[in-house]
Subunit: 384 residues, 2 copies
C-alpha cells in the first residue's frame, strides 16, 4: 500500500488551521489562528480530523497565561487578538517568549489517515477521542494507543469531553477510596464536572457535599438528584456546612477555587464536625485526618488559612496525570472504558456555545469563555 | 509486703504542689501552683518524684491558651497570675471554662512508689522519663510500661527532654524515608530541636537545609557541623535557598513557624530547584512531589501562599503521636531506646534557666518562656 501516500499528498490540503498562543517580550500575549503543515502519520500513528474540542478551565493556563480575558484587542492582520499579561508574569514570559504554543487538551474526531501498523489501521474511519494537546487544530496526530474508540453511534461532539472531566471525576472517587475516606466535598459544584461527580456519586451511593456560590445552582444540583448542597453566599453557610459534614462524615474535599479562605474554612468545618461526632482527639484537636485537594484555580490570589483544624490535616495539589500514574495503566484503562461506555449518560457534557476556530479568537468570545462561568462552556468545532 | 503501705501513708506528705492552667468565663486565664492530693500507684503503676520538666513550645498551647505572655498580672492569693485571652478564644473558653488543667508534657525523676506487679516493682529507685502530661507536679503517676528507664549515671535533669524533641527529630527522619525523600529542610533551625536534628542528620549522612532568622544562628549551627544554613533575614534569602535546594535536592520540609508566607516560599523554592535540576514536568510545573509539614506555630496569624509550585505539592500538620501510631509500637520502642542510649550526646538538651514551680508562674518568667526564643529554654525543677 506504499503508493497510497503520494496520492493522499496530492489530494489532501497540506496545511490546516491551528490556534496558537504566543507570549511576547513586551508583556503581551497573542492568540491567533494560523496555517501550519498538516501532520502525517508514522507507523503506529493516526491523523484525526478534529470535529469538536471543549474549552475547559484547565485549558486557560496555556491559552491565556493569566491575561485579563476582558481586555483583548483584535489585530489588523488575520484572525488574531492581543491581550495584556499581568505584571507578575515575568518568569512566564522568559519561559515562553516568541514560542507559539498550540492549545486544547482534549477533543474528538474521525481517523482519516493511519500508519501501517495493525493497531493504527484498525482505527481508520473510527470516531475517537484523545487528549495530548493541540486539539484546537483541524487535524491532530496521535499514537494509536492514545485513541479512545467510541461506540457506534457516538458523535464527535458527544465525545469531545471524554478525558479531563470524566477521568477527573473517577479519579476523585478513586482517591477517596485509596485514602480511606467515605464521603466527599466538592466546590464550584454546579460545573459540568460537578454535575458528573454528582451522577457518579448517586450511582455508587457515595455522600457528596456540594458547595455552590448561587441559589440557582442549588436548584440545578437538586434537579439532578443531589442530597447535600450548601450555598456559600448565604449567612448560614458555616452552620450549614458543619451540619452537612456532621451528617455525612466527609473528611476529603476537592476544591476548584484554590485562592482565598474557602479551602481553610472547609478543613475547619470538617474539624468542627469531627468534634461533634466525638471522634478520637489529640491535645491539639481531632485525630481524624482531614484532607483537601486543590485541583483548580478559579479564585486567583493567595490561599489564606488560620490553622484552626488541629494537626491531622493536609492540603495539596491534585492533578489527573499524577493520579493516573499513581494507579497505573490497568486501572486507567478501566476508567477510560467506563467513560466510553457511559459518554451519553453519566459523562454527557453540555455547552453554552459552539464556535469555529476563528470565532474563538474574537475579543467577545474570549471575554466569555475566559470568565469560567457555569453554563457558559464553549465547544470549538475546527471543521466549521 | 502489704504492711508497707500504711507506713508510707503515715510518713509521706499526702499533698503535693502542681501547676494548673484554668480558663475563666470572663476571658482570662489563671496560672497557679496549687496543693493537690499526692497520687498512689495501682498494681501496674509507679509514682515518679519529678525532678525536672522542660517548657517546650508544645506545652504553651495548654499552658497559655494563646494569651499574650507579656501581660501577666500577679494575683493577691498564693502563687498565681492572671492573663488576658485573645478575643477569638470563645470556643476555647467554652471547652475549658473553670476546669483546672495540669500542664507539662514530659519530664524525668526517680520512682519512689510502685504497685505490686513485677514490672512496677522493677522500677523502684530507677531514674525514668515519661510524657503523659501533668509533669509540672512534684509527683507523677505513670503506668510502668510508659516509663523510659535511663542508663545508670544519667541524672533526671539530663533525662528531662527524652520524648518531645528527640522523638520528633527521629520522626522527621523516619517520615523522610517513609515518603521517599532524600534530604530535609527545617525552619527555626537553631532551636534545641534543630540542633538535635542536625546531629542526627550528620550521623546518618543526610543533607539538612537549616533555615534560621539571625546571623548568629548561622554561626551556632555551623559550630555543630551544619553544612547548609540559610538566613531568612538576608536580602539574598530566596537565591540562597533555591541554590541550596538545588544542591541537596530536598523536597521535604518541616516548618515550626506555621503562619505567614514562609511555608509557601519553601515549596516555591523547591519548585525552582526542581526546574533547575531538569526534573520531570507536567503542563503545570514539576511532577516531583514537594511536601511541607507544619509541626509548630511560632508565627501566629494565617498561613498565606501563592500557588506557584505546580500541582505536585502537599502541606499538612505533623504531630508526633500520629507519627508513632503510623509506625507502630515496635518502631516506637526502637526510637525510645535510641534516645535513652544517646541522651548525653545526640539528644542532649540545654536550658537557659532553671526554676521552681512557684518561680515559673511569675509575670517575669512567663514573659520570657512564653516568647519562645532560642537560648531561653526553661527547665522546671518541682522539688526546689
Amino acid at each position: 500500500m506504499w503508493f497510497i501516500y503520494p496520492i493522499l499528498v496530492l489530494q489532501e490540503p497540506t496545511t490546516m488551521l491551528q490556534m496558537q498562543s504566543t507570549v511576547r517580550a513586551d508583556g503581551h500575549l497573542e492568540l491567533a489562528v494560523v496555517d501550519v503543515p498538516q501532520p502525517e502519520p508514522g507507523a503506529d500513528e493516526v491523523v484525526i480530523r478534529v470535529e469538536a474540542a471543549p474549552i475547559n478551565p484547565s485549558d486557560l493556563g496555556l491559552l491565556l497565561a493569566g491575561a485579563d480575558p476582558t481586555g483583548a484587542q483584535a489585530l489588523a492582520q488575520g484572525s488574531a487578538v492581543r491581550l495584556k499579561l499581568p505584571p507578575e508574569a515575568t518568569a512566564l514570559i522568559a519561559a515562553r517568549v516568541d514560542r507559539p504554543m498550540p492549545c486544547g487538551n482534549e477533543g474528538a474526531g474521525v481517523v482519516v489517515a493511519a500508519g501501517e501498523s495493525e493497531a493504527a489501521q484498525a482505527l481508520l474511519g473510527k470516531t475517537v477521542a484523545t487528549w495530548r494537546g493541540a486539539m484546537y487544530s483541524q487535524f491532530k496526530l496521535s499514537h494509536a494507543d492514545q485513541c479512545l474508540v467510541l461506540q457506534e453511534g457516538t458523535t464527535p461532539a458527544e465525545a469531545a469531553s471524554c478525558f479531563v472531566n470524566p477521568l477527573t471525576v473517577l479519579g476523585m472517587v478513586g482517591t477517596m477510596r485509596l485514602e480511606g475516606h467515605t464521603a466527599l466535598v466538592h466546590t464550584a459544584a454546579a460545573s459540568n464536572l460537578g454535575q458528573m461527580l454528582q451522577k457518579v456519586c448517586t450511582a455508587e451511593g457515595i455522600d457528596l457535599v456540594n458547595i455552590v456560590r448561587r441559589p440557582q445552582h442549588v436548584e440545578l444540583l437538586r434537579g439532578i438528584g443531589a442530597k447535600h448542597v450548601v450555598d456559600s453566599s448565604l449567612d448560614s453557610f458555616w452552620a450549614d456546612l458543619v451540619e452537612t459534614l456532621t451528617e455525612t462524615g466527609a473528611t476529603l474535599a476537592f476544591d476548584a477555587t484554590g485562592g482565598g479562605d474557602l479551602p481553610g474554612r472547609i478543613l475547619a468545618a470538617m474539624e468542627s464536625a469531627q468534634t461533634r461526632l466525638g471522634s478520637a482527639t489529640t491535645p491539639y484537636g481531632s485525630a481524624v485526618h482531614k484532607q483537601l485537594y486543590i485541583y483548580g484555580g478559579l479564585q486567583r490570589g493567595p490561599t489564606v488559612f488560620d490553622r484552626t483544624f488541629g494537626m491531622a490535616w493536609g492540603m495539596g495539589g491534585w492533578l489527573l496525570p499524577i493520579y493516573l500514574d499513581r494507579v497505573g495503566p490497568e486501572e486507567s484503562g478501566r476508567m477510560r472504558q467506563r467513560v466510553a461506555d457511559e459518554i451519553k449518560t453519566t459523562f454527557a457534557s453540555s455547552y453554552g456555545k459552539k464556535v469555529s476556530l476563528t470565532e474563538a479568537v474574537t475579543p467577545e468570545a474570549i471575554s466569555r469563555y475566559g470568565r469560567i462561568s457555569t453554563g457558559e462552556k464553549y465547544l470549538i468545532e475546527p471543521q466549521r
